[in-house]
């Protein structure tokens, strides 16, 4: 029996064997499987399945696109991802479906599942890496570095990280010292019967802050939570922020402000509604600088002319921003 695989954690095996004796025999099989699937040994993975939209963007930004074997349904950008096999929703993965793509690396975030499926993939000898995901600039850097480590692309990562910092710095500089921070309310799925508003610890919250705004619900809620219309009124936002798709499905500005509570907020009275490409706003990936610049333009904290410099400094990835307006 070959046992020279660094990736077969012995403590894991011992634990499984205790739980269920048959696992022992299966592991014997699986240890034999390992070398076949990890044939390139120390080399970088060549067939990657990415189970998160931001991770997919990062792989693209690190020039790893040709190594992607599949992505999940939340991977919508860049548009090329459409041609890749889709492994389904990230919380309802299929073990054999994933294995059928013969990956040598599966990238997941901590909300991927179900846990049994991830375990089966690990058992089948496929490296599965959970990439920590925090909606902060530091978190994004850490995420990019983690992916870069796995891909052997640390130099590219440094470039991407620098590009993000630079873009953010330029936006910040162009905004200057805006004493007046517009109070923004971000609504997700407005009108679907499952209205959600963004609180702190969300991608939207960070993007709003970086763009010179203030999330009106930053102190009130954590994550995305349902919001009553009266609470929306009480929060008194000066700007209402929605995704493009949500805005269109509602039927435009008049339909949105037909909601009497929203219509009576300062934002409603002034008709200050900002609409943004959802994946750009929420993905929290290499295009963060783009997202911040675009929102800042929408909020008026950044004059339109400043945008070009911000975009030019991001490489080709950012140039393909498909957002409107």
């Amino acid at each position: 029996m070959k046992n020279d695989l660094p990736r077969n954690d012995p403590s894991y095996r011992a634990r499984l064997t205790r739980t269920f004796p048959l696992v022992d025999t299966l592991l014997a099989v699986l240890l034999a499987v390992g070398p076949a699937t990890l044939a390139f040994g120390d080399e970088t993975p060549q067939r990657i399945v990415s189970v998160d939209g931001a991770l997919t963007e990062i792989v693209y930004a690190l020039d790893g696109a040709d190594r992607l074997a599949g992505v999940d349904t939340s991977s919508l950008y860049p548009p090329d991802t459409e041609d890749l096999p889709k492994v389904g929703y990230k919380r309802a993965l299929s073990a054999e479906g994933l294995l059928s793509l013969t990956p040598d690396l599966v990238l997941v975030t901590d909300d991927a599942g179900p846990p049994e499926v991830l375990e089966q993939i690990r058992l089948a000898g496929v490296q599965t890496r959970m990439i920590p995901d925090a909606p902060t600039v530091e978190g994004l850097h850490a995420k990019i570095d983690a992916v870069a480590d796995l891909l052997g692309a640390t130099e590219a990562a440094a470039e991407v990280n620098e590009g993000i910092d630079q873009a953010l710095a330029e936006v910040a500089a162009a905004m200057g010292d805006h004493a007046d921070r517009p109070r923004v309310l971000f609504l997700l799925h407005k009108g679907s019967g499952n209205d959600m508003a963004a609180g702190r610890n969300t991608a939207a919250d960070t993007v709003i802050r970086l763009a010179g705004g203030e999330n009106v619900l930053h102190d009130a809620i954590d994550g995305y939570k349902p919001l009553s219309t009266e609470a929306a009124l009480a929060a008194a936002p000066e700007v209402i922020l929605l995704t493009e798709r949500n805005f269109d499905s509602l039927g435009g500005l008049d339909a949105l402000l037909a909601d009497p509570a929203l219509a009576n907020t300062p934002a409603g009275r002034d008709q200050r509604v900002v609409v943004m490409d959802g994946p750009l706003l929420l993905a929290f990936g290499p295009r963060l600088g783009d997202a911040v610049a675009e929102l800042a333009r929408g909020l008026g904290t950044l004059p339109p002319v400043a945008v070009d410099t911000a975009e030019a400094d991001l490489d080709g990835t950012a140039g393909r921003t498909g957002s409107a307006d």
Binding site: T37, Y89, L99
Partner: protein
């Protein structure tokens, strides 16, 4: 009955042989042969792993869950003397759902202690316990002075189902976007969690009802005449009702715990067999176990292969497969019976 046994064997073989990873039939046979102690011969190791640690446990789980749900359904239809009854009437599914949704939504906050203690098994354990506790509650509410009538059981079940539904609704309302998707998927069922430990624990729970309920065929037949009449025929009605409810709750609770809510099997499989073979529980109970297992495996086979490399929720396919077949049989039966 022989036809049903062959059906199960064929579907089980298909379920082991077919999947997103293409494996030559010879390898399938070698892997199975190796399991039976035959000289295994040369086989691609990854193929062997897919068969032995993914497809085989999943096939066994599918048979167990399908059989358990269908037998429990047949027993409930007998107990309630209503061909449209299903195990959800005694609150087991609603209770399991409430517990599962609680873990999904509150797992990181209000129930953090519980989920930290139980780890990845929080959801199945909570669902199983929730189902049994709710059933017990329904039964207690329906009993007075040691007697339980099926009618009060039904009414208590409706009330508790409504309460559990309200709780589940409240939690759904509180859920964030990802939790919402998770619980939606959970409520459509999946056999994706079929690891050997999961199969082992489900087998422990489901085996008892699967073996014991068919032994109660005469009792269930007698109960169809009415509770008083069953008593006149020498059946210890109260005691038997308790046993039947407990066995059905055990089967459904364990099934829901490992595979989420899979509707339709418990309702339609026994009904279908009754139309084809008549209502005698002597045939109906073992027949339901076999057909339930076969139907669920077939649904799972499609769930795994239709949209590869992704997977469809199995609840969609059980309904899609069983529905038209059931309708056709119903129409034919209506023509001949009237």
């Amino acid at each position: 009955m022989l036809a049903l046994v062959s059906l199960v064997l064929i579907v089980a073989l298909l379920s082991i042989a077919i999947g997103p990873v293409t494996i030559p039939p010879a390898d399938v046979l070698r892997a199975l042969g190796g399991l039976a102690g035959l000289p295994a011969g040369e086989i691609a190791p990854q193929h062997e792993a897919v068969i032995l640690s993914i497809r085989l446990p999943r096939t066994v789980l599918g048979l167990l869950v399908g059989a358990g749900l269908a037998v429990a359904g047949a027993a409930m239809q007998g107990l309630f003397r209503n061909p449209l009854a299903d195990p959800s009437l005694i609150g087991v599914s609603a209770g399991a759902a409430l517990a599962a949704v609680s873990v999904i939504v509150l797992g990181a906050s209000g129930l953090a202690g519980v989920t930290a203690f139980l780890g990845p098994f929080s959801l199945p354990i909570a669902a199983f316990a929730g189902g049994l506790v709710t059933t017990l509650l329904v039964y207690r509410l329906a009993s007075s002075e040691g007697r339980t009538s099926v009618t009060t059981l039904l009414l208590a079940g409706i009330a508790i189902n409504a309460l559990c539904g309200a709780g589940t609704g409240l939690l759904t309302y509180l859920a964030d976007d990802q939790q919402l998707r998770t619980l939606t998927f959970w409520s459509m069922g999946s056999l994706g969690g079929a690891t050997w430990p999961a199969v082992g624990s489900a087998a422990l729970m489901i085996a008892l009802p699967l073996l014991a309920l068919p032994l109660l065929a005469r009792t269930l037949n007698a109960l169809l005449l009415g509770e008083a009449e069953a008593g006149h025929l020498g059946i210890a009605v109260q005691q038997m009702q308790r046993i039947i409810v407990a066995l059905a709750a055990l089967a459904v609770g364990a099934a829901v715990a490992v595979s989420g809510i899979i509707g339709f099997v418990g309702l339609v499989v026994p009904h279908l067999l009754r139309l084809a073979l008549g209502p005698d529980h002597g045939f109906l109970l073992p027949g339901s176990a076999l057909l339930g297992g076969a139907l669920l495996l077939l649904a799972d086979l499609l769930a795994r292969t239709l949209v590869t490399p992704a997977e469809l929720p199995i609840g969609i396919l059980t309904a899609l497969l069983g529905g038209p077949f059931f309708l056709a049989l119903l129409l034919r039966w209506r023509r001949t019976a009237l």
